[in-house]
């Protein structure tokens, strides 16, 4: 966007924000409509479609077997990949992953990994030799802001959806299937700052004029499992703590939606 247009748009948004309003009519701490469809891809071990407003993502889980990393012989392997495919935005190009998709994948990955959501020790088939290798692949289909939350929710739900084959003693697949050893539901909440206002669940328009962005991933007990200040800008300590408080509350709400869906699944 040319900087002149961008300035005009920002001025407009700031004047709205002074009255506690957002362009699309939401309150500062409101989320757009959240839609979660679990299990939409039956070729995947687990899958989930998430829509936040007009942002649409799909996450799929595949499970293979392989060797563990030498420094963690008693843990399964977990890999998160995000594709900002050209479908989702006129600005995304095909080709090797760019820095944006790498950051997205790594932030989602850390939220799941650091919260202890997966019991990696239960993914070991033979210690030091053979473990389950989990892949979470996230496809961004329509990019209209707040990819971090959409991708993070889709990823954890796809993991909870996943069924993997029980292996016999030689490590061969049997017909029987079990869910993944999941323990927690980490939920990322993203806020942006525009002229001292903190906005939850930023739209594409809001992201294009934001001063700064932060994502806080909380887990079931309300503790923080991961944080990431993104892009430019900076935050006061008080702002960070305020965002953390809001993220805990918002995280709890989304967690109960997910929990309900997970129990429906069984």
């Amino acid at each position: 966007m040319s900087s002149v247009l961008s300035d005009i748009k920002k001025d407009y948004m700031v004047s709205l924000l002074k009255n506690g309003k957002r362009e699309d009519g939401r309150g500062l701490n409101d989320m757009r409509d959240l839609k979660i469809d679990i299990g939409i891809v039956n070729k995947a071990e687990g899958s989930c479609y998430v829509q936040i407003g007009d942002t649409k993502v799909i996450a799929g889980v595949k499970c293979e077997t392989g060797t563990p990393f030498p420094d963690t012989p008693n843990q399964g392997v977990f890999t998160t990949n995000a594709e900002l495919i050209p479908m989702a935005s006129p600005d995304f190009e095909a080709g090797p992953p760019r820095e944006d998709s790498i950051e997205l994948a790594r932030v989602v990955d850390r939220g799941i990994r650091e919260s202890g959501a997966i019991d990696f020790e239960k993914l070991v088939i033979k210690e030091g030799e053979l473990v389950r290798v989990l892949f979470v692949d996230i496809h961004i289909m329509d990019y209209n802001g707040n990819l971090f939350d959409a991708a993070g929710i889709a990823a954890i739900a796809a993991l909870y959806n996943a069924k993997i084959p029980v292996l016999d003693e030689e490590g061969n697949k049997t017909e029987e299937q079990i869910p993944l050893p999941m323990r927690k539901i980490p939920v990322p909440c993203t806020y942006v700052k525009i002229a001292d206002s903190l906005l939850y669940d930023p739209s594409f328009e809001e992201e294009s004029v934001m001063d700064s962005r932060i994502t806080v991933t909380t887990e079931d007990k309300g503790n923080i499992a991961a944080m990431q200040k993104g892009d430019v800008g900076s935050f006061k300590k008080e702002e960070i703590l305020e965002i953390v408080r809001r993220s805990k509350a918002r995280g709890d709400e989304i967690r109960s939606i997910l929990n309900e869906k997970f129990s429906d699944m069984r």
């Binding site: 070729k43 071990e45 594709e83 050209p86 935005s89 329509d142």
Partner: protein, 242 residues
């Protein structure tokens, strides 16, 4: 690569279809906000999204043509769309399908209206179940219409094939894997010509003729479904505008 499979029982195929019967097809139009046009197709077990961007200035510039827009088609399969995980990113298979998809769609478009521009078609296979290229072309043609790209006609597409020495329409996964021939087609209904034609397997001249006829019939059915999907979209929009 025939296996010991019984492809027909009481004249019906494994999944209960007649030889000249398509699988269930459903197309939604305008499913994305950012894209200029978009669609979603469910065709048997296939689930495929399509987004169209353009016409906009072609980039990088050396691609620009002074007398018309270029058409870029990208076919991508999600890593989780198939039984065994596919490595993310471009594959040789995907590159070739992108190329023949472009060849299938371009004859129906009026690209000469937009010199130096490009139109981009992005096809994303989220679940694959045989016949993804045909389903992708059918969805892409609808998405191009949704994007308002001027066109002579829609491009329906579907495959014919041979299993157990019989010509059948729209191969299922099992028929594709263990059958004798696969013939993905796209058809221009007004021009009465085929704009996609690939084939591998084993066909006699007579079988080819039969397969082309059957494929054409299938394409014409897909054509109706495409038109219906667009009608539903625009009638609904008209309704809501009232």
């Amino acid at each position: 690569m025939d296996k010991d499979i019984k492809f027909f029982e009481n004249g019906k195929r494994i999944d209960g279809r007649d030889v000249d019967e398509l699988r269930n097809i459903n197309i939604e139009v305008g499913v994305f906000k950012r894209a200029d046009g978009s669609s979603y197709i469910e065709w048997g077990g296939n689930k495929i999204y399509c987004a169209v961007y353009g016409p906009r200035e072609a980039y990088p510039r050396f691609l620009q043509k002074s007398d018309r827009a270029i058409l870029k088609c990208r076919y991508n399969m999600a890593s989780f769309a198939v039984e065994d995980r596919k490595r993310p990113g471009p594959s040789r298979r995907g590159v070739e399908i992108g190329k023949v998809t472009q060849g299938a769609l371009e004859p129906a478009l009026l690209l000469e209206n937009f010199p130096k521009c490009m139109v981009e078609v992005n096809i994303e296979v989220v679940q694959a179940d045989a016949g993804t290229r045909c389903a992708g072309i059918a969805a892409a043609s609808v998405a191009l219409a949704n994007a308002g790209i001027p066109m002579k006609e829609l491009v329906p597409s579907c495959a014919a094939g041979k299993v157990d020495d019989r010509i059948v329409l729209d191969l299922s996964k099992e028929e594709d894997n263990y059958g004798q021939a696969d013939l993905p087609l796209a058809f221009l209904p007004r021009k009465n010509e085929f704009s996609l034609l690939q084939m591998d397997g084993d066909l006699s001249e007579e079988q080819l003729e039969e397969a082309l006829e059957l494929g054409k019939k299938g394409c014409l059915e897909v054509y109706e479904i495409q038109k219906e999907a667009l009608k539903k979209k625009y009638v609904r929009e008209d309704d809501s505008n009232e």
